[in-house]
């Protein structure tokens, strides 16, 4: 019987042999995997964490967690999505630990203006400015926004990851969006 695959569904990609090799302890494969995901890991950590100070510390801890959990990757969903979930969990754990230890000493960057729609396309600068704006949101709103709008998680998934009720997540998203739009309105001169 011929199986008709809907056009909207992507064909499953063959499993990356490096994942299985790294899970077996192959350092070369593990190094190659980490080099590939490390920039994305750093970006996600920066989305979730205020300021640049702790980024590489937490990113390295997240990379260690990724390697440690490779054996549990079952191929459901993409490898990078699986990594994103691990990075988010590790980042929250690291933040809880750092909050206790109070090693945050770097001053937060001053509020930067949001990029103007007329500005020349400079992706890096635009991303830096956006995340500096996120730095001025409370952590719970920031995390909800990032998990939903950057990582694409649903509200129930966010509630499960953060261990809070669904309504709490919805409330944080509402407040976070309002605060973020307010920053944007200030930029537009409204």
């Amino acid at each position: 019987m011929k199986i008709v695959r809907p056009l909207s569904l992507p064909l499953p990609s063959p499993p990356d042999p490096r994942i299985e090799a790294a899970a077996r302890g192959d350092r070369t494969a593990a190094a190659a995997l980490l080099r590939e995901v490390a920039p994305r890991v750093r970006n996600l950590v920066r989305y979730l964490v205020r300021g640049d100070g702790d980024i590489d510390d937490i990113a390295q801890e997240a990379l260690v967690s990724i390697l440690g959990g490779l054996a549990s990757f079952r191929g459901e969903g993409t490898f990078v999505s699986w990594c994103d979930r691990i990075v988010a969990r590790q980042t929250f754990a690291s933040l809880r630990r750092r909050r206790r230890d109070r090693l945050e000493l770097l001053e937060p960057e001053p509020l930067a203006e949001l990029p103007s729609p007329d500005a020349a396309p400079d992706d890096y600068a635009a991303r830096r400015q956006l995340v500096t704006a996120l730095d001025h949101l409370p952590n719970d709103q920031r995390h909800a926004l990032v998990l939903h709008h950057v990582m694409g998680l649903s509200v129930p998934e966010i509630a499960a990851d953060l261990e809070v009720p669904v309504e709490t997540v919805r409330s944080r998203l509402r407040l976070g969006r309002a605060a973020f739009r307010k920053l944007h309105d200030l930029e537009d001169g409204r």
Binding site: L34, V37, P39, P115, R181, H184
Partner: protein, 299 residues
Amino acid sequence: MRDERSAKVSLPLLDGRAGPAKRLSADALDRLVQGALEQAMPVSRPQPPEPEIDLITPVRRRAWLIATALMFALAATASATVYVAGRRATPPVPRPALSVAPPAPTAPVEPAPVAPAHLEPAPLEIAPPSRPPSRPPSRHVHHRPPPHAPVPVPVPVPVPAPTPVVVVPDESEAEDLLARANATRAARRWSEADALYQQAAHEHPGTQAACAALVASASLRLEHLGDPTGALRRYRAALLLHPRGTLSQDARLGMAHALRALGDPVAEEAALRELLAEHPDTPLRQEVEARLRALRATP
């Protein structure tokens, strides 16, 4: 980044392109990856011989551990001509030009000058268990009082309040962590050593050992893990703990090195000026002033 129709918030897609995390050089990214690999997949190496410290008294052992961590920190913040020679296989990252010929330790390798209370545990004062005062023996022990005689009621004697017990934190665990960290660093297992230094600082906050661990971790991050930002943070934390302690000069010098690595000449100059102001007798005065002149000459 705003959708007018739905008033939704749009944030850039998550990917591996530059931003929003600060750009990182290829070398620094590689060091980040290697550090994670070392932690997750440590390569078994022959264990270095245990340092002979069993014969040293606890007081001198503690001072020895702190001084050893300090010597590592001093060696790491010295110039490339002294530190790099014969110790590195890969080209060093841009290094500070301050040259210090065999660095004079800012602290002697003898017991660190801390208050005696930090070296000797305060004697615990434990109040003896309070007992009610014993009654004098009655001459009429076996005499039964007459049925209608009043029953003697003992007068309650006030019991003295127990003496407060002073609990002194046990610093032996911090010493053990420092010893393991120093040995791991000597074996050139940088990430492992850094994790042990961090553990010592986290689990024993506010102590002299924590300060030494912070400075040692900072120098390790600056010299071997390509993390001047993390180094700067740890140097600052050490100075917050002990702004004028034994390691304050090392921390201030380390901050200047980290700021130079971060490409911030203004902050580097301020850090060097603060070092001279706080430590006017520093043996590094000539080198620091030379660096200040070089900074002023740079447009």
